[in-house]
């Protein structure tokens, strides 16, 4: 029990450290912008007054961090202590107030823009997960049951192709076949329920290939266990043996991978959303944030995507440890 609590508090400590690092990174990233973010946003033809107003409004006129090591008027570099009155503290305090500042371009609260898009991304990730599972389990079972046959080999090759085919190749190919050639589905957008099919397949394909391989090896391993012989000996049909006994046990490792992959799906969703013009966080980040140099928006998107990813991973890890006592010990 003590061991378990210690382990949990260690995980939470790491989680907090990671979140702290991510927020710090996101805050300080804006210092990487070559030149002045104000000029980069307003353009070269902005008047000095406009630039000054912009800098004031978005707190860009304040020191970036507790200390600075910048050149003064004489060109001398020296350390300066700015105290708590800096942008790093500003960003933390806005975050802790449930805010993320205002967008440089649209002047709307960043959190509002993100919340509008968040559901679409989660919807896409979950749909991709469903696609992956519903392809992987039957294919993996068939391949595992027929180990070493031509069917197994064909499925292995298909899975390999699926793993190495990046979404930005598969996506446009699917658009070509199903939107342009057959005209069954819309090439982009999120207007009808069926619009999610192509993005979900694109995002889920690589995962389904990975899962197929896992289900296959899991099934092969379980088929050699004693309880399978017992089940067969008592006269159960092969179908019952495979689907009721083997699959139940074989799915445990698959479930973990699934949880860990939810984070990968979130990152992959950025590209899928771009391909299909799917109005989620990724598209917000790429088109409105990076495309229009709205640095405050980029900060918010990166922060929300990473924190979602971190929480999904930690949650899976904790649930998994709780479900399977064998892992707690090892």
């Amino acid at each position: 029990m003590k061991h378990k609590l210690l382990d949990l508090s260690r995980r939470i400590l790491i989680l907090l450290l990671v979140v702290w690092t991510v927020v710090s990174l996101v805050t300080l990233l804006i210092e990487l912008v070559p030149g002045d973010p104000a000029t980069a946003t307003l353009g070269e033809e902005a008047t000095p007054a406009q630039v000054e107003q912009f800098r004031q409004k978005h707190n860009l006129d304040r020191p970036a961090f507790f200390v600075s090591y910048a050149r003064d008027e004489q060109g001398q570099r020296n350390f300066r202590w700015h105290g708590m009155n800096n942008r790093y503290i500003d960003y933390w305090s806005t975050l802790l107030h449930g805010d993320m500042g205002r967008s440089f371009r649209t002047d709307r609260p960043v959190i509002e823009l993100i919340m509008q898009r968040y559901p679409a991304t989660i919807q896409l990730a979950v749909a991709a997960l469903l696609v992956a599972v519903s392809i992987a389990i039957p294919l993996g079972v068939v391949a595992g049951k027929n180990r070493g046959t031509w069917l197994d080999n064909v499925l292995s090759v298909v899975a390999l192709i699926g793993i190495s085919m990046p979404g930005f190749v598969l996506g446009p190919l699917l658009i070509y076949v199903f939107a342009i050639q057959f005209g069954w589905l819309a090439p982009s957008g999120r207007y009808h329920w069926e619009d999610i099919i192509l993005p979900a397949v694109t995002l889920g394909a690589a995962l389904s290939a990975l899962l197929t391989r896992m289900v296959r090896s899991s099934v092969i391993e379980e088929m050699g266990e004693d309880y399978v012989r017992t089940a067969r000996a008592k006269g159960l049909s092969e179908k019952t043996v495979v689907y009721k006994h083997v699959l139940k046990n074989g799915l445990i490792p698959v479930v973990t991978i699934l949880g860990l992959q939810l984070g990968v799906l979130l990152a992959g969703a950025i590209i899928t959303e771009k391909i299909f013009n799917w109005p989620g966080l990724g598209l917000l980040l790429i088109d409105d944030g990076i495309g229009k140099r709205d640095y405050r928006l980029v900060q918010g998107c990166v922060l929300v995507i990473s924190v979602t990813y971190i929480f999904a991973n930690t949650l899976t890890d904790i649930i998994y440890r709780w479900l399977d006592p064998r892992i707690r010990v090892s």
Binding site: V26, V33, I161, L173, I290
Partner: protein, 271 residues
């Protein structure tokens, strides 16, 4: 080596030859547009057809191999170098160095989507080949450092290391002359898989407009330019050719990595 990794070696060798001799193989200038000949299907004049501005797809995909392999090699080399040093120091000295590296850095980098970090960095730095390479190195070194740290922890307990210490060898000599040469085998596997990752990341970032800026013939840029509906409809080959190139090279490096792992770890053979 198994069959698949031999196949991988052949494909990689092919891409290397193509990249090295690109100027001799290419039939057209990569930037040469020909507006009268847009969306041309593969023919004798244009072996793999032309794209939306009449550029020769064959020549561009050949030159694209140069960009991909260059990014891959530089990223893998630099990441391996940094990762080896950090991982070796953490594994050898332990203590507070190890606590920072293993307890903090590894956890942070593992808990954070690497691609997103690269996207964010390039978003603030601006697009460009060197910035792309920098971003990929920053997310890339961790994998190598983890592998090396684990190996060093194991090797430093071996008798010959104790013997070297008894003979009065310095820490640096023990680490770099005695331990590292016996610890770097798994790095080769990691480097091969790292090539696949770097090639894929380069294409991804270029596709998003955050890597090599167009009109450079990066495979990612070619895909991005070929995916608008009118081009897709008129010239699907402009998408298919760079797509196959990316998938094949990623597949090949993964095959080599898997093959090497099996070769170095006999327990995995025959699975």
């Amino acid at each position: 080596m198994n069959r698949l990794s031999k196949f991988g070696l052949v494909i990689v060798g092919f891409f290397v030859v193509v990249a090295l001799f690109a100027p001799l193989i290419a039939t057209h200038d990569v930037g040469e547009t020909d507006l009268l000949n847009r969306y041309a299907v593969p023919s004798g004049a244009h072996w793999l057809g032309t794209d939306a501005t009449g550029r020769d797809v064959f020549s561009r995909v050949i030159y694209g191999a140069r960009i991909s392999l260059r990014v891959g090699l530089v990223v893998v080399f630099v990441s391996t170098f940094i990762g080896t040093i950090i991982g070796a120091l953490a594994g050898y000295y332990g203590g507070w160095i190890d606590r920072i590296v293993n307890g903090y850095l590894f956890n942070v980098f593992l808990a954070f989507p690497g691609l997103l970090l690269a996207i964010a960095m390039v978003a603030f730095l601006g697009a460009g080949l060197n910035k792309l390479i920098l971003a990929l190195c920053i997310i890339g070194w961790v994998g190598y450092a983890r592998v090396i740290r684990g190996q060093v922890l194991k090797v430093r307990e071996y008798d010959f290391v104790q013997a070297a210490r008894a003979l009065g060898a310095s820490d640096m000599r023990i680490l770099f002359v005695h331990i590292l040469p016996n610890a770097i085998q798994p790095l080769i596997v990691q480097a091969s898989l790292g090539m696949a990752g770097a090639v894929l990341s380069e294409a991804t970032l270029s596709f998003l407009g955050l890597g090599v800026p167009p009109p450079a013939p990066s495979w990612g840029v070619m895909l991005e330019e070929a995916r608008d509906l009118s081009t897709l409809q008129a010239a699907p080959h402009a998408l298919l050719v760079p797509g196959i190139a990316i998938a094949l090279s990623v597949l090949a490096f993964n095959f080599i990595g898997d093959g090497l792992r099996e070769y170095l770890d006999p327990r995995q053979r025959g699975r």
